[in-house]
Symmetry: C2
Subunit: 124 residues, 2 copies
């Protein structure tokens, strides 16, 4: 079914419920990427740092895509101190599908509640 | 540079600033698709109706993608009574790029102000 990219906006300066990070602080997006990198990555999933997913007002943002057959998803309001394990669990479930459509109840709660948008597969 | 898909969420029931459409009204997303279909489509751009782009709280939503080399974009808060010509103009500018990155000042104002998210090209 092909590999999956878990994209992390490393320039996100916002964590939901907090003021934007100042220039002198470690960027929340970069912290989220570091937190994800520190955990075992599910088989078939590649972490991919990205500069800006244009969801700045709802950072931290991540996205999942995987080849021309799968729907892509963008999620936001991720907390670098908390959400890394559940993001990886959700990426693994996504990678286990051919079309990217994980049954609603099998999606992590952070994906169900903090979805920003989805895009259809390109190969249709 | 390959063709471009302009995807229109035909199940969007919201127009920004208005209450959700009732079940008995024509769905705003379907009205937006009809408004776009009634205009000349830019060369290389294909209109593609889609059921739900998961941007429901910010409908009407549209998305642009085009092959593995271009960034994809999701836009929201489109008004079916007003925005169709500018959406098509923005799609034409997007289609004129190899990577989907239209210079900021050349983007229609509705795209600059109502961006939801973007996704990097798959071929990186």
């Amino acid at each position: 079914m092909g590999g999956v990219s878990l994209m992390i906006c490393t320039t996100c300066r916002r964590v939901a419920g907090e003021p934007d990070a100042s220039e002198s602080e470690a960027c929340p997006g970069a912290r989220l990427y570091a937190a994800l990198s520190a955990l075992p990555c599910p088989e078939g999933v590649t972490l991919r740092p990205v500069e800006c997913l244009s969801a700045c007002s709802r950072g931290c943002a991540v996205a999942l895509s995987g080849g021309a057959e799968r729907w892509s998803y963008v999620y936001a309001e991720m907390d670098p101190a908390v959400d890394a394990p559940e993001i990886l669990a959700g990426a693994a479930r996504y990678g286990a599908t051919a079309d990217g459509l994980v049954p609603w109840r099998e999606r992590p709660e952070i994906f169900r509640k903090r979805s920003v948008a989805r895009l259809p597969p390109q190969a249709v």
